[in-house]
Symmetry: C2
Subunit: 317 residues, 2 copies
């Protein structure tokens, strides 16, 4: 599906199971998967021949411009950190998604790359999110909020309170303060920042609620002859909205902060969602999301000073 | 509204602003509000005449059976801890809500009482949630899950991983393992446990998404003559569902773990939602939620051993 839309695809996996040859798709036989492991960094080191490591190494070697990994997020992140490396001055890569809500687009990060974070990581995520919203969505001075359990500066964990103070004092950020879970759909901010644990839970809660609500509307529309007729008449008007909130259409999350772009689709995507992930990666390459995000971070003074130092033990999810 | 349904209400607030006398409602003039403060415990200590403290003290004195507080959750919790005291053997009170999703009821806690928790708190919340689901929803052996960013035992923060191990080894719990944000609406568990920060964010994300989705359906149903007719025909079938997902109908969260029952409605509820909160409190008293939860905790061996020790600095949200 992605190749039919002009993307050249290198497909790493067990060649015997990948079906007939397709124009634009080069199959690279990589029959080994990375083993499930509590420590993805260890798993990646122990499986240098796994499909995810080989795909990421192809990007590092310049054979591909971006990678898409539908397996373990932690493994993709670890493979990326070891082989593609971080952008100069970036503390930690983060997973950023457009929140699948009708109407106002919100850029939400981190949704799962960093279960544990330090304050300086969240501060940089705020700038990364703002840069991404500017580059991808064309929002000129995106409003940035910090996810908490209340609007007041005193709400949240000690970490959130510390980040609140840092962001409130940060120059060059259109800071709107703390936002709440409801603001993921309220349009109060263009960028919402949180750690990878809270972000992952909130994103999935939101997607689940949205799909459950649509499911209930569908059920209601079969409950009587009258309702069936109503549902039939309403259906065309709902189609655009259904597409808008379907996570598969968004293609997944940008893995941002490496020297090349990564895209992480949901593990539960169908083949359609994976094709959208490949197209998202291709659009990100064409739009130079990595280069322009880096320039924006640099312009905002949000890059870590000094030479690129290696972080010996990144925490991955 | 609540008094009309047979609840005797003591209403603490500025008598001059509370309108005309109503049968069944006794107004107690308490014109002072508790001051907003980063430290709710301090604010409560400094405002012994505030409406929330006076209402809670009326419960402690046996003048009322339960309290409803629509102000700061932290202030209600602090006032409750100081005056009503904790149930014997309970580490920390928690806020528990029925997740407003169609169909399968899920008991979700903590949704905001404890921003910071220790492993033993979350373990006890699991038993408290199970007891509540048994008492209120009549679920016999409720399935209990721990909210995380993935199903595997190795997912989540170190705290979540530790709690996972403790719950997996806990006797007397129908433990289903880690659950994800999507499982708040999937029906995979009857009780979902998390800390008060994550729970607050996830609940609000879910409510926001559900309302935004319904709003988009409403908008779609005005987009053309055909869609308008469809919406009109579908409307009666959607009414029950709309009521089911409207947080105001649920009346808010039980504050559970004190010697008397508390109910905390959302700050943004209308007068209707507050009347539902009062009715929820009254139903909880009639059903002896506090006593039966305590018995269930005791039977499960989930109460803290030894005499009731005071926890000098409870963390409140």
């Amino acid at each position: 599906m992605a190749a039919a839309r002009g993307v050249r695809v290198l497909l790493f996996g067990p060649a015997g199971e990948l079906g007939d040859p397709v124009d634009g798709v080069t199959v690279v036989d990589a029959p080994r998967s990375v083993a499930k492991d509590a420590d993805p960094a260890r798993a990646v080191r122990a499986n240098p021949d796994s499909s995810v490591v080989r795909a990421v190494r192809a990007v590092a070697a310049g054979e591909a411009d971006a990678f898409v990994s539908g397996g373990s997020t932690g493994a993709a992140l670890a493979a990326g950190l070891f082989n593609v490396k971080r952008m100069r001055g970036v503390h930690r890569p983060a997973l950023a998604v457009p929140v699948p809500v009708p109407g106002h687009p919100v850029t939400f990060l981190d949704v799962g790359a960093n279960v544990e974070v330090r304050p300086e990581h969240l501060v940089q995520f705020a700038f990364m999110g703002a840069a991404l919203a500017g580059v991808v969505l064309g929002v000129e001075t995106p409003r940035v909020g910090l996810l908490s359990n209340g609007e007041e500066a005193t709400k949240g964990t000690p970490l959130v309170q510390e980040v609140h103070a840092l962001l409130a004092a940060a120059p060059g950020l259109n800071w709107v303060g703390n936002v709440e879970g409801t603001d993921l759909t309220s349009g109060k901010a263009d960028v919402i920042v949180t750690d990878g644990f809270t972000g992952n839970v909130a994103l999935k809660a939101l997607e689940g609620a949205s799909q459950a609500t649509l499911g209930a509307v569908r059920t209601a529309a079969t409950s009587s002859v009258r309702a069936k007729l109503g549902g039939l008449l309403l259906k065309p008007a709902l189609r655009g909205f259904r597409d808008e909130v379907d996570p598969e259409n968004a293609g997944g999350a940008y893995l941002l902060g490496l020297r090349s772009l990564g895209v992480v689709p949901h593990g539960r995507f169908t083949r359609y969602g994976f094709s959208q992930a490949i197209l998202l990666a291709a659009r990100g390459v064409t739009g130079d999301v990595v280069g322009r995000t880096h320039s924006a971070l640099d312009a905002a003074g949000a890059l870590r000073g000094g030479p690129h130092a290696s972080d010996p033990s990144p925490s991955v999810a």
